[in-house]
């Protein structure tokens, strides 16, 4: 949504052929790219510029007729607001929690699936299924059919009357996300495991290396780039988590699970503070640019390795 992201190093891969020829030749080359580029710029950059403009207005949609230019006042309001800081912290906790746990589980499952056993394709199919359930359906399913204190599956099987969602709101949201995203991590890590050279592993085994030594000193270093890629892509997707928060906890209790997307949604469509919501949006964009600049470096190195294989 912005062009400001700093450019990562350009070593991904040498171009197929250096561009030569005059302006006409260059435009012929550019032609196939232009529709997509123009479309992306129009749909993603113009709203952002508009957000920038809105963020300087005092505009509450419930009080019609008053859009006053107030400069940076919205930013001051938003940055001194406890709620936004809480939302930022919650975003980090929810994203990191979901990514880390799904990565650990995904690694375990990938190691299991890397072995051969009866029915392996079926187990793989079973394991990717949670990822394919519509996220909002998954969130509602966990909320009502699993976490519910009266007739939920957990209390139904293990007894007790714990209200899981109000007792452990973050845990409930993270559990649902981990359930959905573990298959994603598993698929990436499994691809990593299967790209490992079997001869080298066999040679190490012949030389008397123990299984965990092979894992610690050969498999894990080999998997590192896949772990990074999984963590990165998982974070890109999960930082925008909205469905689970919206339907499981509504951000509550209090602000316990209000993340940035949900907080901005509330500011926009519950409080109708358009100016403040825009300022918060701009701040999120700036934070994302910082993270993305770092992320793009990692991505470019990961994609380079992969494409040179």
């Amino acid at each position: 949504m912005t062009t400001m992201v700093a450019r990562p190093d350009e070593r991904i891969q040498p171009p197929v052929r250096p561009t030569r020829g005059g302006p006409r030749e260059r435009w012929i080359r550019r032609a196939p790219l232009l529709p997509a580029l123009v479309f992306a710029i129009v749909i993603t950059q113009i709203p952002f510029l508009y957000t920038l403009y809105l963020s300087t207005l005092h505009w509450n949609a419930l009080k019609p007729g008053k859009h006053k230019f107030i400069g940076f006042d919205n930013y001051v309001t938003v940055l001194t607001d406890e709620r936004l800081r809480a939302a930022l912290v919650n975003t980090v906790i929810l994203t990191a929690g979901a990514v880390i746990f799904s990565m650990i589980l995904g690694l375990g499952l990938a190691l299991l699936l890397d072995r051969s056993f009866v029915g392996r394709p079926i187990v793989r199919t079973l394991l990717i299924t949670p990822f394919l359930v519509m996220p909002i359906a998954a969130a509602l399913l966990w909320k009502h059919a699993i976490f519910n204190p009266a007739y939920g599956l957990i209390n139904g099987i293990f007894g007790g009357s714990t209200d899981w969602i109000s007792s452990y709101p973050k845990g409930a949201v993270i559990t649902t996300l981990v359930w959905q995203w573990t298959p994603f991590m598993m698929l990436i890590l499994l691809a990593g495991l299967q790209s490992q050279s079997t001869e080298v592993i066999e040679a190490a085994r012949v030389d008397g290396a123990k299984p965990w030594q092979i894992f610690r000193w050969m498999t894990l270093p080999h998997l590192r780039q896949y772990l990074e890629l999984g963590g990165l892509l998982g974070s890109i997707y999960l930082v925008n988590t909205f469905d689970a928060v919206f339907s499981i906890t509504q951000g509550g209790p209090g602000t316990a699970t209000t993340n940035l997307p949900y907080e901005i949604y509330l500011t926009t469509f519950r409080k109708f503070e358009y100016g403040e919501a825009s300022a918060a949006g701009v701040i999120v964009v700036l934070l994302t640019i910082i993270v993305a600049t770092f992320a793009l470096r990692v991505i470019s190195s990961l994609f380079r390795i992969e494409e040179h294989r």
């Binding site: 196939p32 479309f39 992306a40 187990v123 394991l127 299924t129 359930v133 890629l229 994609f303």
Partner: protein
């Protein structure tokens, strides 16, 4: 011998893990065939007389227009995204433009941006243009949402076209349409299908934009699901029936294409 026992043990563990992971889905499907009383019983009812009553209820409450809206938004945005992304990916791989890395990273940077930052301006613009609650608004937004993914993915597939073959064709005087038809398409078409499928899945499942920009006219399947739990009383079985129904297209598509899934989700980075 030892190894075989090990494989059996770990295979069993894998089976158990698989069943544990899929269990909530199985439970959802089972519950959808229950009567509400059985669905809300504690301890859970494992034995019950299956009924299609809940599915009838879901259709009585008019899920069909929501499903059709989802279908429209997903299919049209997928067609649009593929027809924009494929030529772009070509210009970023086989015959790259001068600043191809910049363009490539511009696309992915739009994917990293939180949709929430664009929500208000998009909402206001759509309102101004009278395009709120309009399925074509969703088509355009889903196209923008999936474009970076599709460009990166298609690029990774196009890079698999052997350059020598392409150049040999050029030397032989093959025109661009001919080499697309004869050389590029046969190699790339499985990738094209995979790209389309991933875009379809993301569009079908999208909730955040839909809940804020659509209502009764253009509401998609996720919106139906949310709107329908606000009713009081026992609703768990009906909810499960609706959830099963709306998840079914993606479940089937994902199972069929599971070998391509990882490549799509990693934007072509992992083969």
């Amino acid at each position: 011998m030892n190894k075989r026992i090990g494989n059996t043990v770990w295979g069993t563990v894998a089976w158990i893990a698989g069943i544990v992971f899929v269990f909530p889905v199985i439970w959802m499907v089972l519950t959808s065939f229950k009567q509400e009383e059985a669905a809300a019983s504690n301890p859970p009812a494992w034995v019950f007389t299956p009924t299609l009553h809940q599915y009838e209820q879901v259709f009585d409450r008019n899920i069909t227009p929501f499903l059709l809206n989802s279908l429209m938004a997903s299919v049209f945005s997928t067609l649009l995204v593929v027809s924009l992304a494929t030529p772009a990916a070509y210009a970023l791989s086989l015959r790259p433009v001068a600043k191809w890395t910049d363009a490539l990273f511009f696309f992915i940077s739009t994917k990293m941006m939180p949709a929430v930052a664009a929500l208000l301006p998009v909402y206001l613009l759509a309102k101004h243009l009278g395009m709120l609650d309009n399925i074509w608004t969703m088509v355009i937004l889903y196209t923008a949402m999936n474009l970076p993914l599709a460009v990166w993915m298609m690029r990774s597939f196009l890079l698999e076209v052997p350059r020598e073959v392409l150049e040999a064709g050029e030397v032989d005087g093959a025109s661009l349409p001919t080499s697309i038809r004869k050389i590029i398409m046969p190699i790339v078409s499985p990738g094209l299908a995979a790209t389309a499928l991933i875009c379809f899945i993301f569009a079908w499942n999208e909730f955040f934009l839909a809940v804020n920009l659509t209502a009764t006219n253009a509401g998609t399947a996720p919106i139906f699901l949310v709107g329908f739990i606000s009713s009081e009383g026992l609703f768990l079985a009906r909810l499960c029936a609706a959830a099963t129904l709306v998840s079914l297209p993606v479940l089937i598509a994902g199972w069929v294409a599971q070998n391509k899934l990882v490549r799509g989700l990693s934007m072509g980075a992992v083969k």
